[in-house]
Symmetry: C2
Subunit: 359 residues, 2 copies
């Protein structure tokens, strides 16, 4: 891939200020902190008028009103058909404004519920030309002190080998844009036992990835196993959404359990509480290294617009990180990068007229 | 299921003393410790004559010689076709001795390589009547201070809904025998997003499990997600082997990374090392709670004999735990329990003459 010039400032993010478990009490402070860290950035704050009243005076901020809110337990049906003026939907619409004179957002961030966000984003933006199935990507920390990007995390089940190949292209574009690694190494998640080879789909995906790598379209490392995600064996790990979702939730569950066990043991009695006091600075440093807030912000890839999903329970620090990831993605032209890789592949495959697969 | 009377002592285990990364230097001390804890148990120690010379004098031990050893990196081909007198194979053969006067082992334990053990066990023992696909089950610690049993962990990929149902039967038998929970709750591993329902296979498996639960054949809780394994939402979690293997390896990777991070932070400088000294008793208690040695010993289910697989890198404490799990399984008639559940289901389905599916 040829290196792309970054998009000139101002980069503008549309923020669903009402989404998530905490709404404006978290999103607004996060926006302020983000603006302080990104002196060239602009924000389009979307939400209820009364919730955003104070923000109208903020520099580099534009308020767009939306009268409804998609709640965390709202069904997709409700988000899609009933709440047509939700902050989530209006925020996404800022990526493709209907009025020609409207301000254009380069990326959108929401902490709203995943199913609804996914459905609304697909409906409003449509799928990018040549992409068969959009996917969700996020980063996990690894032993190398960096991040491993993993996709798909649950947008697709029963992915085909061709889907997995496209995930590799889209993921490579994401890692290049956000992590700054132009040709990230790609691992295909598989199981390692010699006895028990991967499924036919995985084997076929391996062949496609090897071919693409040989053609210089991506940097395929080979098969990786579950533990390689945390080892940081490759920059990117590609898998079916069912597997990726189980992997993600399992990791959250295990990390949570280990954290609770540490807390339990240090608060067992007076002596252990004293030990906790002494060990506090060390424990804090440890906590920082595995702090999920640091890697908040999953990318919805393959749509005709950049949407980032913050964890619903995100606090201001976490939400600010999601904003920062979205900013980096927009600035480094993630959308063009995805499009370039997909189009290049289609052309290489002799299909020079990609057909839009609007749903 | 009717409660089964425990098998009368002596319960006899066949031990592949040569298997694993460390061989007799780990397995023999583990056997001694196990015998001390289980005063009625007997062992059949299998391995090279010179390695087992000292053990010939041990009470309640019988030495059976085997001239070969399946190395950790031997292929299945080598284990199956070349090394016909391996300690692994001879140990498994003690479950179905050819000579009528030979001592019968009730279960076999090996730390040898999984692929080889799996292939040799299937070849020597054959599949149990009515079982379509044998599976591997292991336990993970959970927040409730108990264990969650999970299968399949990698014996099968592309499992059908019917396979998943059988895993639930076999796993229920295992939990009843080893954990002492007669009607364990069963969770079907799925992904939680409303938007993105599980695959067709998972949906169909859910139906089969609900029907079996309604017929009183098992205790189906419903769908669970990855984090439920560590919450301990259900006693048993059923999944395809690809997903289970990724889950297991991911967990090992994450736990290892978190452990390393804790070590890193406490050994950073003199001050943090001092903090480590103060916090040592607390850290040790924490370590014990997540110590993988405590839950060593995976069950190979669905074969005509009980085989337990120890982690290859197990130390004596871990290997002793695998022996103890195999002992409990044998004593509480795991084989009969699996057979009973499978036969009962076949009969309920109108198939009163189960056909052996020897491979």
């Amino acid at each position: 891939m040829t290196a792309l010039q970054p998009l000139p400032d101002p980069i503008r993010l549309a923020v669903d200020c009402m989404g998530g478990d905490h709404g404006p009490s978290v999103t607004l402070p996060a926006c302020q902190a983000f603006l302080a860290q990104h002196p060239q950035a602009e924000l389009i704050l979307v939400g209820r008028a009364e919730a955003l009243a104070a923000a109208r005076a903020w520099p580099r901020c534009h308020v767009v009103e939306a009268t409804e809110v998609v709640e965390m337990d709202d069904s997709i049906e409700v988000a899609l058909r009933k709440k047509r003026d939700s902050s989530m939907r209006v925020a996404i619409q800022q990526l493709r404004p209907k009025e020609p004179q409207a301000l254009l957002a380069h990326a959108c961030v929401s902490a709203g519920n995943t199913g609804a966000l996914w459905a609304v984003a697909k409906f409003v933006l449509k799928t990018l030309e040549g992409v068969d199935r959009p996917a969700i990507a996020a980063v996990m920390p690894n032993r190398r002190g960096r991040f491993t990007t993993v996709l798909d995390l649950g947008a697709n089940v029963d992915s085909t080998a061709e889907n997995l190949l496209q995930f590799a292209f889209m993921g490579s574009a994401l890692v290049a844009a956000v992590e700054g690694i132009e040709e990230p190494s790609v691992g295909l998640l598989n199981i390692g036992e010699e006895a028990i080879k991967g499924s036919e789909t995985i084997k076929r995906a391996g062949e496609l990835l090897r071919e693409a790598s040989a053609a210089g379209q991506l940097n395929f490392h080979g098969n990786v196993e579950g533990n390689d995600i945390y080892k940081g064996t490759t920059d990117l790990v590609v898998c079916d959404g069912f597997v990726g979702n189980v992997m993600l939730k399992t990791s959250e569950g295990l990390a949570g359990m280990m954290g609770d066990f540490i807390k339990d043991e240090f608060s067992r009695n007076g002596l252990t509480k004293l030990a906790a006091l002494v060990a506090m600075p060390v424990l804090k440093r440890f906590k920082r290294r595995v702090d999920p807030r640091r890697f908040n912000g999953a990318a919805l890839l393959g749509l005709r617009g950049l949407v980032f999903k913050s964890h619903g329970s995100a606090d201001a620090v976490a939400f600010e990180n999601a904003l920062a990831r979205a900013y980096d993605a927009a600035r480094n032209r993630l959308l063009d990068r995805v499009q370039d890789r997909i189009v290049a592949t289609l052309q290489a495959a002799g299909n020079t007229s990609p057909v839009a697969t609007a749903e």
